[in-house]
């Protein structure tokens, strides 16, 4: 395992320590073991790895949606007890958004769906209403409030699900493959929205196998393939071709191109890596 030390990291708001998880007897997916991750407060952590490497399992363990067979989940320095109360508190403060929005939309209308969480928290009605309005506004979908959920486009449904999680006012938002299935425009719009949440102080954990996205967007990165292959600042972890290939991932374009252009003298030696092909095109104009 490679650990790049990161002196600048904030204290972890959420952490998993030595997590072990094996699906129930008979299931074909084997064990995932000894996984330790730290989620520094106020930052974006990207979890990368191949399919079947345990990304979703790790996210679900961190959000209290699965109980580890061994190891601990630590919230704000305190170990989460595997009791109703402990797990309830973890779930409230750490909200998980699954990949497929259809798995999370089960009410008739958008506003009803978004109110599901706050109502379960036992909040009084005016507060629930206020939270729903706020969450819909944060996702820029206030106009969809009264729409039936099954008539929305895929991108809209993704936003409604995010609003539903946000309405719980979590400290940490955990997103499983948030950009999967979105077209480039949808990806950019979602990233802009997530950028707003990040600026407002929400800690984000995202899983992806898009190294370019992680490199451009995350502060910290974890490479996971049934165990942690590397963890540390995104810039260090995601530019090491050997590490990426060990995690069965493809290197990112951004840093590769940046290095090549700097080496060729096409850009100054201090120029940052391009984040999009558009930036490269502007160079050659």
């Amino acid at each position: 395992m490679t650990h790049h030390t990161d002196p600048a990291a904030a204290p972890a708001v959420l952490a998993g320590r030595d997590l072990v998880f094996g699906y129930r007897a008979g299931d074909p997916v084997p064990v995932f073991s000894g996984v330790t991750v730290e989620v520094p407060a106020g930052s974006v952590l990207a979890v990368l790895g191949p399919n079947g490497g345990g990304k979703t399992t790790l996210l679900r363990l961190l959000a209290g949606s699965l109980t580890p067979d061994a190891g601990r989940v630590v919230l704000d320095g305190t170990e989460v007890r595997p009791t109703r109360r402990g797990v309830g508190e973890l779930r409230r403060r750490v909200q998980l958004v699954f990949q497929d929005p259809d798995d999370q939309l089960f009410s008739a209308s958008v506003a009803q769906d978004v109110s599901f969480g706050p109502l379960n928290q036992g909040r009084p009605e005016p507060e629930v209403r206020e939270r729903v309005a706020w969450a819909l506004a944060a996702l820029e979908i206030a106009d969809l409030a009264d729409r039936p959920t099954h008539l929305l486009s895929y991108g809209q449904r993704k936003r409604v699900v995010l609003a539903g999680a946000l309405a719980m006012r979590p400290d940490v938002l955990v997103l499983d493959e948030p950009t999967a299935g979105l077209d480039p425009e949808g990806v950019e719009a979602l990233l802009a929205t997530l950028g707003g949440l990040r600026a407002a102080g929400t800690t984000l954990v995202i899983s992806t196998h898009d190294v370019d996205l992680a490199h451009r967007w995350a502060d910290h990165a974890v490479l996971l393939d049934r165990r942690v292959l590397a963890a540390g600042p995104a810039r260090a972890v995601l530019t090491d071709p050997a590490l990426l290939s060990a995690a069965r991932l493809r290197p990112a374009w951004g840093p590769a191109v940046g290095a090549a252009l700097r080496a060729a003298g096409a850009v100054p030696a201090t120029a940052p890596d391009p984040a999009t092909p558009g930036e490269v095109i502007r160079l050659t104009r």
Binding site: S107, A108, P148, T149
Partner: protein
């Protein structure tokens, strides 16, 4: 409430199989007819069967703290009608026996009689009756009442028939079959009666939601 494998004496197991057979054959014929007239029906019936199985595998809160499952037969009877439900219920029970060990293979006939025949018919009867009585009430209220009645009645009648099946197999030494019925009914009432009420409430929530998000399907099924 599934009678476990081997719990009934062989003669009773055979007798209940014979009793359930005409209903199942009738249901199977209804299914084959539906499939013959409309090739889409095959896939819809397969999906409905899977829905019935998944419904009966849900865990619902119970007083005893043990894990309980809804029967789903009341909802199934309202959505698919009792004859089709006899066939789908039999498939569900067969799968439950082989995939979950809920109920047995020799007791399949007895379980089919209580859960795929008696339950759906009682539930559907209740549903029709309440629908007729509440024709003047607003649709949402009338539908809610009827569906609650159907689900609760289906669950309760399943429980009653099962108790009766057990009483017939194991008459009380002192008071015979009525006494045995009282005993079995009492022992299982602890879990089954609250379960019936909760299942009724859940079913109302389901149908309420369906009437907004799946109106076309409900119209197609003529609920």
């Amino acid at each position: 409430m599934h009678i476990a494998e081997g719990f009934l004496p062989p003669v009773h197991a055979v007798a209940w199989t014979v009793a359930a057979a005409p209903f199942v054959v009738h249901g199977a014929r209804a299914v084959t007819m539906a499939v013959r007239t409309d090739p889409d029906a095959k896939l819809l019936l397969g999906a409905s069967g899977a829905f019935c199985f998944v419904l009966s595998a849900l865990k619902i809160p119970s007083v005893t703290g043990s894990c309980s499952h809804p029967t789903g037969t009341g909802l199934g009877a309202v959505l698919f009608r009792p004859p089709v439900m006899a066939a789908l219920g039999t498939v569900t029970l067969l799968f439950q026996a082989l995939l979950l060990a809920h109920g047995g293979l020799t007791t399949l006939g007895a379980n089919v009689f209580s859960m795929a025949v008696a339950g759906p018919w009682a539930g559907y009867g209740g549903y029709r009756l309440v629908r007729a009585l509440t024709a003047r009430l607003p649709e949402t209220t009338a539908l809610g009442l009827a569906v609650f009645t159907a689900a609760t009645l289906a669950s309760l009648s399943t429980y009653t028939v099962t108790s009766l099946q057990l009483a017939l197999a194991f008459p009380d030494a002192g008071s015979g079959i009525p006494g045995a019925f009282a005993k079995f009914a009492a022992v299982f009432s602890l879990t089954q009666i609250p379960l019936a009420v909760i299942e009724g409430l859940i079913t109302v929530v389901i149908v309420r939601l369906l009437s907004t998000v799946a109106r076309d399907e409900l119209l197609r099924l003529a609920v």
